[in-house]
């Protein structure tokens, strides 16, 4: 009871803080904020990424949307566990294949079967290179094949990497934006590489200035 209340207050504080710092605004360019079951897949440059998506989602959608995060980071320590499990209701997966105690796809599948939407970062790790987007891991394709009724929405998060670069402790205030693109559905005859390529292009197309030099 008290923990649930604390989690709610913490969640509220996080969104208020994110707004104060980044003035973040959603741009629903390719779809509307409707309560359909979705997998939001986004570029990953900072720990603040899913916080921004989470902040701009309307509260009704926020309640049914869970970020997928690495268990190696979020299961460590009581504070991180509280934030990960209680505040953001993160779906924790093992990122390193050899340490898999449970198949990440099965873990995400459970959450989708329960009717939740997911936020995933198909690059698999934070992008600290100069390239706008790393190549995608194959999980996105396997999810799309297993869950044909779910919409896969590309989400471009802009500027958060400058707010809090990897390794820095103190965030600085800069304007950020979150752009939602047109949902993708796996085509019947579409192969893995083809789908991942299409998904990556759809995400890159949302980047301001169309930085397609990657």
């Amino acid at each position: 009871m008290i923990r649930a209340l604390a989690a709610q207050i913490f969640a509220r504080a996080v969104t208020v803080f994110a707004r104060l710092l980044t003035g973040v605004r959603p741009d629903w360019r390719g779809c509307l904020p409707e309560s359909r079951q979705r997998v939001y897949f986004a570029n990953h440059a900072s720990h603040g990424d899913f916080v921004l998506i989470w902040t701009v989602l309307p509260p009704a959608l926020r309640r049914i949307t869970r970020p997928v995060a690495g268990a190696d980071y979020w299961a460590k320590g009581a504070m991180r566990r509280f934030i990960g499990e209680r505040v953001f209701r993160a779906v924790l997966i093992d990122r390193v294949a050899v340490e898999h105690t449970r198949d990440p796809l099965a873990v995400m599948g459970e959450s989708l079967a329960a009717g939740d939407s997911l936020i995933i970062f198909p690059e698999g790790t934070r992008n600290t290179t100069e390239a706008p987007l790393l190549s995608f891991r194959s999980g996105l394709y396997h999810l799309a094949r297993a869950w044909p009724g779910v919409e896969f929405v590309p989400v471009w998060i802009d500027n958060i990497s400058r707010v809090m670069p990897k390794g820095e402790l103190l965030p600085i205030p800069l304007l950020c934006s979150v752009t939602f693109g047109t949902p993708l559905v796996l085509r019947t005859d579409e192969g893995k590489d083809e789908f991942l390529e299409r998904a990556r292009d759809a995400l890159l197309a949302l980047a301001p200035g169309k930085r397609r030099d990657a």
């Binding site: 003035g23 820095e168 103190l170 205030p173 800069l174 304007l175």
Partner: protein, 313 residues
């Protein structure tokens, strides 16, 4: 009139002007026969945002000195955030930027609050100017080093130093003007903003010849002349708010309007170079905080120093 009565008269006048603007916008929207007209919609969005801005400024004024200092500190914060967002900084600037937002900005406004003229007038031009490149150098990234430190310094000068000279008007010791400093701020803000609005109106109605096509395609000779002339007359007519005589108030207003216009050109040049139309999206119909403040930024320090030189004890 007592200062309170003057403040009430002033705000009643502003509310009257805004009511008129809203009514005109309503009629124009009704008369737009072929569906919604983007120009009219933008006009109405601007008027609506003006209502909000007047309410916020009015609330800050009613809280007195503290309210005004905090209001402009937040305006500086929003302006600096917009400026740095459009500046190509690197990871090596992180500490210098954090210091700009979390150390330099609060200190500048604390000095204004403390009315320490000797320090707030040199704190950013001297101490931040020396400190921030040191912080950036310690990080060891030399790529575009001079560009980066110069741009961060410029952002601080424009967004924090210049903007802070509006609340700094409260620190001036003007004989016979005790307890009325908020009205001096109201005079500056009203003249600058009405100049922007009147240039826009004159330009929309009579604008033919572009005055600076490379910088700002919407500014015209007709808008400039009509706007500056009418805002100067308005400033003269508002002399009763100020320690100035009517012709002094008109001259001050003329200087404010010219600096404001030129400041708008400078800020447009930066936006052009960065490839954007507006600094941000904070204020519906207007763009960002800096789009609203660009003329204040250039007018405020000059107005401050002229007033200080000629009118303080």
């Amino acid at each position: 009139m007592s200062p309170q009565a003057q403040t009430v008269t002033l705000f009643a006048g502003i509310v009257g002007a805004l009511t008129l603007a809203s009514a005109v916008g309503f009629v124009l929207a009704r008369r737009a026969a072929n569906g919604p007209n983007p120009a009219v919609e933008n006009l109405n969005a601007r008027v609506k945002a003006w209502w909000v801005m007047v309410l916020v400024i009015g609330a800050a004024f009613s809280l007195g000195k503290g309210g005004v200092v905090v209001l402009f500190a937040f305006a500086s914060f929003a302006a600096l955030r917009e400026f740095i967002t459009l500046t190509p900084t690197r990871r090596g600037d992180h500490w210098a930027l954090a210091a700009s937002f979390f150390v330099v900005l609060p200190i500048q406004y604390a000095l204004i609050w403390a009315a320490w003229y000797g320090l707030y007038s040199i704190f950013i031009p001297v101490y931040a100017f020396l400190l921030l490149p040191i912080v950036a150098a310690i990080r060891g990234d030399t790529t575009r080093f001079l560009d980066r430190v110069a741009e961060v310094q410029w952002g601080l000068m424009v967004s924090v130093f210049c903007v802070s000279h509006v609340p700094a008007l409260m620190t001036l010791d003007i004989p016979g003007y005790e307890g009325r400093h908020l009205l001096l701020i109201a005079f500056l803000v009203l003249v600058v903003q009405s100049s922007d609005v009147l240039q826009y109106v004159w330009g929309k109605l009579f604008g033919r010849h572009k005055i600076a096509p490379n910088l700002s395609p919407s500014k015209t000779v007709e808008g400039f002349l009509g706007g500056v002339a009418s805002a100067t007359l308005l400033g003269g007519a508002l002399w009763w708010l100020t320690p100035f005589s009517p012709w002094q108030a008109a001259l001050m207003a003329l200087m404010i309007n010219l600096m404001g216009f030129l400041g708008g050109l400078v800020m447009s040049a930066i936006k052009r170079d960065r490839g954007v139309k507006d600094w941000g999206r904070m204020i519906e119909g207007h763009g960002g905080m800096l789009d609203r403040l660009d003329s204040v930024v250039f007018a405020a320090p000059v107005f401050f120093h002229l007033t200080r030189f000629f009118f303080t004890a």
